[in-house]
C-alpha cells in the first residue's frame, strides 16, 4: 500500500545507515513504518526521541489507534525493542481518555516478530494489538 510521509517535520522521521522510521499516512489512516535492521549498539538514542515526537503528534490529534508497520523490519535487537516498551509506558502514563492503541503489522516471513509482539502485547495490555 502506498503511503506518504506526514509533513516535513524532521522529528517525525529518522534514518540511520541500517534502519529508518517514519510517520506516514495512507487510505487507512496514520501509521508508523519501520524498515531495515535495528542492530546498532544504542538505537534508543535515535528511536526514543522519534517515539516521543510521534506520541506528541498523535496526542495532539486525539487519535485512538495507530498502526505500527514492521513488515519491512528485518530485525530489531533488544536495545531497539526497548523503544517500543518506552512507547507503551508513555501511553500507560496517560489518563484513560487520552490513551490510544498500537496496532502492530508483522511479516509472516520474519518469524521473530510474532514472538516479540506476543511478549509486547502481554506487557501493553489493552494498548497493543497484533494483526
Amino acid at each position: 500500500m502506498s503511503s506518504q510521509p506526514l509533513g516535513t517535520r524532521p522529528e517525525l522521521q529518522v534514518a540511520e545507515e541500517k534502519y529508518s522510521a517514519a510517520l506516514a499516512a495512507d487510505a487507512q489512516g496514520t501509521r508508523v513504518v519501520f524498515r531495515g535492521t535495528v542492530s546498532t549498539e544504542n538505537p534508543g538514542a535515535v528511536l526514543n526521541p522519534f517515539v516521543d515526537a510521534v506520541h506528541k503528534h498523535l496526542l495532539a490529534r486525539q487519535v485512538t489507534e495507530v498502526r505500527i508497520d514492521l513488515r519491512e523490519l528485518e530485525f530489531c535487537n533488544s536495545s531497539g525493542f526497548k523503544s517500543f516498551i518506552h512507547w507503551i509506558q508513555q501511553i500507560q502514563q496517560l489518563p484513560d481518555a487520552q490513551r490510544y492503541r498500537l496496532r502492530f503489522q508483522s511479516s509472516p516471513q520474519r518469524k521473530w516478530q510474532r514472538v516479540s509482539l506476543l511478549a509486547l502485547s502481554c506487557y501493553g495490555l489493552n494498548c497493543v494489538m497484533m494483526e
Partner: protein, 185 residues
C-alpha cells in the same frame, strides 16, 4: 551426505536424511565483530534452517546469537569472541555458546542476573518484570530475558581463565508460544 547439491537446496525430508543423527558442530572466531553482527545472525539463521530441517528453530537461534554476541562485544574489549553452535538430533538438543574475555566483576554481575532469572520458572513473567524494571532510556538489560522467553532457551554462564562462556540451550523442536495477554486481531 549429499555432495552434489548443497543442503540448502534440499527439501526438509531430504535434509533430515542428509543430516541424519549426526552431531553438528560449528565454531566461529571473530575479532572485532560488531560491524558483522547482522551477517553472523543471518548466517546462523540459514545454517540452523539446514541443520534443524523442519523444526522452525532458526529465528529463535538467530535471535539468541545476536543478543549474546551483542553482550559479548560490550565486555570483550576488542578481543576474540568464539561462537559454538551445536545440534544433537538424537538428543533433541540445540545450543549456542559465546566465549569472550570478561572481568571478574562483570562475570559476577552476569551470573547474578542469570541466577535471578532462573529462580523465576515462568520465562514470560520474568521477561515482563525486566521490561518494567529496566529503564527504557538505558542501553541493555533486556537481552537475556528475551532470549529465554522468545527463543525458548535456558541460559547458564561459566568463567574460566578470565573468559566467560554464556550458553543458551534447549530442545530442537519447541511448541509454538501462546500467551494470555494482548489483543490479537
Amino acid at each position: 551426505m549429499t555432495t552434489e547439491r548443497s543442503v540448502a537446496e534440499l527439501s526438509d525430508p531430504q535434509r533430515r536424511q542428509a543430516v541424519g543423527g549426526e552431531v553438528i558442530h560449528l565454531m566461529l572466531r571473530m575479532r572485532p565483530p560488531w560491524v558483522f553482527i547482522d551477517e553472523i545472525r543471518r548466517f546462523t539463521e540459514s545454517f540452523c534452517a539446514c541443520a534443524c530441517p523442519g523444526a522452525n528453530r532458526e529465528a529463535g537461534m538467530a535471535l539468541a546469537v545476536h543478543e549474546l554476541m551483542q553482550n559479548a562485544i560490550t565486555t570483550s574489549r576488542g578481543e576474540d569472541i568464539d561462537l559454538v553452535f551445536e545440534v544433537e538430533p538424537r538428543a533433541d538438543r540445540v545450543s549456542v555458546s559465546i566465549t569472550n574475555r570478561c572481568a571478574s566483576e562483570e562475570f559476577e554481575t552476569l551470573r547474578d542476573r542469570i541466577e535471578r532469572m532462573n529462580r523465576e520458572p515462568d520465562a514470560l513473567a520474568h521477561y515482563l518484570e525486566v521490561m518494567r524494571e529496566t529503564p527504557s532510556k538505558d542501553r541493555g538489560g533486556l537481552g537475556l530475558a528475551r532470549v529465554r522467553f522468545e527463543a525458548q532457551l535456558s541460559l547458564s554462564a561459566a568463567w574460566v581463565g578470565g573468559r566467560v562462556t554464556v550458553r543458551a540451550e534447549g530442545r530442537i523442536r519447541v511448541p509454538a508460544l501462546h500467551a494470555i495477554g494482548g489483543t490479537h486481531v
